[in-house]
């Protein structure tokens, strides 16, 4: 059960592969459900050139660790991984990775989606986009 905030671009596929090799026993998991959120170059009708992700250092980690523990208590899962970018991003950069490993698929699907919904609604991150018209805070939709 690992939570990481990353100040630099990361490769979600290499990250998952490395985590799996390091933390999961071969043959123990039958299901891996994964979500990757990626920065789009288009939002609310405008071309987006870049983005800055602000967060609340300390509370962010606590919150993500808290929901990871809740997921492990609620579903029969073997492990989870949450990685989230902070700082400046460019279009096509991965923003978030949520991965869940379990013996059977239902727990992995349910837990990964629940983690993403909790993260989107309550984890203290804020996006500021750069468009041709200047900077703007992204509204929660």
């Amino acid at each position: 059960m690992i939570v990481r905030l990353l100040a630099e671009p990361f490769d979600p596929w290499q990250t998952v592969q490395a985590h799996q090799r390091e933390h999961l026993a071969p043959g123990s998991y039958g299901a891996t459900a994964l979500f990757v959120g990626t920065m789009r170059d288009f939002n609310q009708g405008d071309t987006v050139r870049g983005m800055t992700l602000e967060h609340y250092p300390g509370m962010t980690e606590r919150y993500l660790e808290d929901i990871s523990r809740q997921a492990a208590a609620r579903w029969d899962i073997l492990d989870s991984l949450i990685c989230h970018r902070v700082g400046p991003l460019r279009p096509d950069d991965p923003i978030v990775l949520v991965a869940v490993w379990s013996a059977h698929r239902a727990a992995a699907f349910d837990a990964s989606r629940w983690l993403m919904e909790e993260l989107k609604s309550r984890a203290p991150f804020w996006k500021k986009e750069v468009t041709a018209a200047g900077e703007r805070w992204v509204e929660n939709t």
Partner: protein
């Protein structure tokens, strides 16, 4: 002892401060921390945390607490 007050994102820009300290005697609730720290009304959708846990505006505060105000989150 003092209370540490933090503002994030658009709220940080609106109040013009990232963080400050107020006298622990000046506020008994999170709402009173806001009133002491700023000269404006709290936006309706403001989220609040004491010591990095979500709370409501009526939550009590104590000397040494870290109180944070921020807009709806947009991560992920």
């Amino acid at each position: 002892m003092t209370i540490t007050v933090k503002f994030f994102a658009s709220l940080r820009e609106e109040v013009g401060m990232a963080d400050l300290h107020i006298d622990g005697e000046c506020a008994e609730t999170v709402a009173e921390v806001w009133q002491t720290a700023t000269d404006r009304a709290m936006p309706a959708n403001t989220l609040m945390a004491v010591n990095q846990e979500y709370v409501d505006a009526g939550h009590p505060v104590r000397d040494g607490d870290e109180v944070a105000f921020f807009p709806p989150v947009t991560g992920g």
